[in-house]
Structure formats: structure tokens, C-alpha cells
């Protein structure tokens, strides 16, 4: 859905990093920690990506679904909103909002293919019920702006069209963290371009300066992304993930 980011609710709802990963009291009772939150959201984002590959939806839909999921957990507990069900439901909802509807029946079918663990199984009815709960949690704000929109144009302008694939991949990876809840999408796009130009050893200082954006912010986002890559091995450690997931009901 095309629209203007600056007048959007997304702009007004951007969060401070401290507001993220505040563990809900109900989750605290189960011994779930802020670190568990990060791990679970990371794992669930990957789950959404895998499901999306099976049902074949555009990257936009995946990005919107993950954004919904991450927004839900700034307001609701994982105890009441089980991530194993929230993941496919967010994908279901995002597909509708982005006008490429996926049948709930199909989704329930692919869940079994993607996850052998019985705990992930769900009935169509459960997805539809969770859809209503998520709509309420999101307060019916469904339009999400993503870095993809400005990416191609920015790359072209920077004379870096040959780095499109690499940068696109970087942007995809930013959804494994909470960046989209904290920063305006075009700054995330610029941070990814910044990383790509550093990796390619391309001198782009003049181009970035002409953009009249706060380069400190862009560099900070880039640092966050690089920090994330540093911790990637630790994040994707199966044992740590299942330890966190096992604290869920």
C-alpha cells in the first residue's frame, strides 16, 4: 500500500530501544528474560520466512508479517500470544493487507511441512481467532513502510546498482532484529547501503553528505547491524533457542 511515511502512524509509533524487550509480567512469571525475547523473536522471524518460502509470497509480505509480530510483543505477552501461532497468523494477516491473500487452510498445511514439532500444529479456527486478537493488539494499524521501497532508487543514485542483491540481503536480515520498530525505513536502507559500500571499499562519503541525513544515525544503525552479525552464531544456537522456546506454554 503506497502512502507517505512521515504522516503515518508508524512514524509516530517509533520506539526507543529501551522500550523494546521489556518482559511482560506474565512472561516474567515463567522465567522468560529479555534475552529470551530476542531469541524467540529471532527464531519466530526465521519461521515466518520459511513458511513464506513454501506459500510463495513477496518479500514485502514477509517483512510486514515480521513487523506485526514484533509490534505485538511490545504490547502483549508471549504467554497469552503464543509465538508458534502468532507467526503464521501474522503472515496470514500481512498477506491480506498486502493484497496477496493466502488461504488459512494452505497455511495450516505448510506448517506441518516446515515444523515437525507437534507444538506448532494449528487448526484453521485457531488462526482465525488469533487474527482477531492480533488486529486488536495492533489497534488496526496495518500499513507498514519498509526500506525496500527506497532501496533500488538510492542504489542507482549512488552508482551502486551492482550491489543491489547484496544490499537487499542486508535489508532482509534487519528483520531478524527490531530495527523496523525503532528507525525510519529510509535510514535503515541507507545503513545497509553504507555497509555494502564499506565492504566493497567504495568511496561514497560525498554522496552520503549530499543526502542531508544525520550520518551519525546511519552509522549507528550500521553498527547495530554489524553487532548483530557478530552475535549471529550465538543467536542461532539451537540449544539456546529451544531452551527459550521451552519456557513458553
Amino acid at each position: 500500500m503506497a502512502a507517505d511515511f512521515w504522516t503515518s502512524s508508524q512514524f509516530k509509533q517509533l520506539l526507543d530501544p529501551e522500550e523494546l524487550n521489556v518482559v511482560h509480567p506474565l512472561d516474567k512469571e515463567r522465567g522468560i528474560t529479555a534475552e529470551d525475547y530476542k531469541l524467540i523473536k529471532f527464531h519466530i522471524s526465521n519461521y515466518i520466512v520459511k513458511l513464506a518460502q513454501y506459500i510463495k509470497v513477496r518479500q514485502r509480505v514477509v517483512a510486514t508479517a515480521i513487523t506485526y509480530m514484533r509490534r505485538v510483543y511490545t504490547r502483549r505477552s508471549m504467554t497469552e500470544y503464543n509465538p508458534r501461532l502468532v507467526a503464521p497468523t501474522c503472515l496470514y494477516l500481512a498477506a491480506k493487507a498486502e493484497e496477496s491473500t493466502v488461504q488459512a487452510r494452505l497455511l495450516a498445511f505448510y506448517i506441518k511441512k516446515v515444523q515437525s514439532d507437534e507444538k506448532y500444529r494449528c487448526e484453521i479456527k485457531e488462526i482465525l481467532e488469533m487474527e482477531m486478537k492480533i488486529l486488536e493488539a495492533l489497534n488496526y494499524y496495518l500499513v507498514v513502510f519498509h526500506p525496500y521501497r527506497s532501496l533500488t532508487q538510492l542504489l542507482q543514485d549512488a552508482g551502486m546498482s551492482d550491489s543491489t542483491q547484496q544490499t537487499w540481503g542486508l535489508v532482509n536480515d534487519t528483520y531478524k532484529m527490531d530495527l523496523i520498530l525503532v528507525h525510519p525505513p529510509h535510514l535503515i536502507a541507507l545503513a545497509c547501503i553504507y555497509i555494502a559500500s564499506v565492504q566493497k571499499d567504495k568511496e561514497n562519503t560525498a554522496w552520503f553528505e549530499e543526502l542531508r541525513v544525520d550520518m551519525n544515525v546511519v552509522k549507528n544503525i550500521a553498527m547495530e547491524i554489524l553487532d548483530f552479525y557478530d552475535s549471529y552464531k550465538l543467536m542461532s544456537d539451537e540449544n539456546r533457542i529451544s531452551a527459550a522456546m521451552n519456557k513458553l506454554p
Partner: protein, 310 residues
């Protein structure tokens, strides 16, 4: 943590059914806590199959974004409830408006009077302003018609409603209720099967509404797609490649009777010269030549109107 939100039935008292919208009934209701009168739009969910209809999601999310504009109907809240069979229904809570442009025009048609030209001007300006706001946010309405323009009789405020009900690339062909979808406000490129839409489709509808406000009669009252085109051609002349490059490539293009353009004043008597000029700018065949809503707001026709109040 949070207070449990009241269900629609607890929070509102339904007063009367005021209409049948595209996706369900509309009620006038009173908010129990404040006494405020609202419009409740009830949306059926076909829960057994696919939950909330995508069109409803689209309308809600677009309104969440657009309903800050004074000329777009205000969505105050969304509530979930249950109907008698225990199925989930969705209530969209809108500010209540007591009439719409369709009813307003009808009231004049019945007495044989014309709407005062100052009021036509004011309504048209508000319409252009609302449309400009939607277009500025990348949203096309695609189904503008007098019935979708709500009004307050006392203040003469106009607000665009039923937003975004149409999907991205198609105009709805049939309604879910018995109401037949009107073709009267549909742009020629849509009738001819163009697959790519631009804001110009809404401007065509704005033009048709403009003419109807002046004469109390629909300017192109077709009852089939072909009829609709012929009505248009009879007044504006049959288009050809010269005046509308690419027209013969459109899917539904055929050979049509050849008419030459008549002056607009013959169809809209009583409209002043500036008004006729603006109408003409909105009725260009080639969509890219049609005036934008934003530009229309600066047209000399609106000179002398106190825009600050609108």
C-alpha cells in the same frame, strides 16, 4: 496491564438502521458512556472460511491513516463483537453524519429547485480537498459517487466515505448487497478496460458529481457499460487516437457511432464560465491531461470562496 476493551454491544445502544453498506448494515447508535451519536458499520466475517475480509482490512488500515483530514470520514474506533449466532462481527465506529450528497440532491430535485451556486462551490471545494488529501497519500478512492459523500446539513461539511473498498487494480463489479453498482461516475478508461489506474479516475467521478450538483441530474446515466460509454461519447464526442492516444489499444475498444463534441453548457446549463472551464479540465479523455484535485483547488472557479473556513 490493560483494561479489557468493552464489546461493541456493551458500549453502544443501536438506535436505528440507517443503511446497507457494501459489506453490511450501518446503524445510528449512541455511545453509552458519552451519549455521543455515532454510525456503526457492522461487517460480517465469513469466519468459517477466511476471517476478516481483505477489503475490510484495507478500508480500516487506510482510514487509520487518512481519517485525520476534515474531509475524510472519521473512524473513531474498531470494536469486535458477537452476533446472535455467536459469530464474530466487526464494528467500525464512525462519527455520525446526518445526510449524504445523494439525498441532498434528491431533496432539491423533488422540489424542482437548484442547489444555490455558493453551496455547489463550497461542496466541490471540500470534495477536491478531500480527494487531494487521499491522492497525496497514494490512495485512490475508485468509487466516488454522491452516495459516498457524507454531509452535515447544519454546517454543510462534506466528508468522503467508503474509502478504499475497491482493491488495487479492480473496481468492484458487484455489490454484496442487493444494491446495484452504479456506472454513472466511472471513467472512460475504466469502462474501456484499462488495467492501470491513476488518480485521474477519481477526478472523472468528481466531474460527474459536479455536474449533478448543478443540474440535480446525473450527467451520464448509463445502465450498462456500453450505454455508459455512449452517454459519454454523445456529449464529449467519440474519442479517437488523435484526441486520446492509445484509446484503440484498450481491451474493450470497439468501433462506435461517431459523435462530435457538444459544448458542456448544453449538458450543464446554469454553470458559470469558470465552472464550465473547470468541469472541462476534469473531463479530458486522456487521463494524464485531466486536472489534479490539488490543482483544481486553485482554479478561478473557487475564487471568492472563503477557503479558510473549509
Amino acid at each position: 496491564m490493560e483494561e479489557k476493551p468493552k464489546s461493541a454491544m456493551e458500549a453502544f445502544e443501536k438506535l436505528e438502521k440507517v443503511g446497507e453498506g457494501t459489506y453490511g448494515k450501518v446503524y445510528r447508535a449512541r455511545e453509552k458512556a458519552t451519549g455521543k451519536i455515532v454510525a456503526l458499520k457492522k461487517t460480517r466475517l465469513h469466519e468459517d472460511e477466511e476471517g476478516v475480509p481483505p477489503t475490510t482490512l484495507r478500508e480500516v488500515s487506510l482510514l487509520r491513516m487518512l481519517s485525520r483530514d476534515p474531509h475524510v470520514v472519521k473512524l473513531m474506533d474498531v470494536k469486535q463483537g458477537q452476533n446472535k449466532e455467536g459469530k464474530t462481527v466487526l464494528y467500525l465506529v464512525f462519527e455520525y453524519m446526518d445526510t449524504d450528497v445523494k439525498k441532498y440532491i434528491r431533496s432539491f430535485r423533488q422540489t424542482g429547485d437548484n442547489i444555490p451556486s455558493g453551496i455547489v462551490k463550497s461542496l466541490m471545494f471540500q470534495l477536491c480537498k478531500g480527494v487531494a488529501f487521499c491522492h497525496g497519500h497514494g490512495v485512490l478512492h475508485r468509487d466516488l459517487k454522491p452516495h459516498n459523500l457524507l454531509m452535515d446539513r447544519k454546517t454543510m461539511m462534506l466528508k468522503i466515505a467508503d474509502l478504499g473498498l475497491a482493491r488495487a487494480f479492480t473496481v468492484p463489479i458487484k455489490k454484496y448487497t442487493h444494491e446495484i453498482l452504479t456506472l454513472w461516475y466511472r471513467a472512460p478508461e475504466v469502462l474501456l478496460g484499462a488495467t492501470h489506474y491513476s488518480p485521474a479516475v477519481d477526478m472523472w467521478s468528481v466531474a460527474c458529481i459536479f455536474a449533478e450538483l448543478v443540474t440535480n441530474q446525473a450527467i451520464f446515466p448509463g445502465d450498462s457499460e456500453l450505454q455508459q460509454l455512449l452517454h459519454i461519447f454523445r456529449l464529449l464526442g467519440t474519442p479517437n487516437e488523435e484526441i486520446w492516444p492509445g484509446v484503440s489499444q484498450l481491451v474493450n475498444w470497439h468501433e462506435y457511432p461517431q459523435w462530435t463534441a457538444k459544448p458542456l453548457s448544453s449538458a450543464v446549463p446554469g454553470l458559470d464560465e469558470n465552472g464550465l472551464h473547470l468541469l472541462g479540465e476534469m473531463l479530458h479523455y486522456e487521463p494524464s491531461r485531466r486536472i489534479s484535485a490539488k490543482k483544481a483547488m486553485d482554479h478561478p472557479y473557487f475564487d471568492g470562496l472563503d477557503k479558510a473556513l473549509l
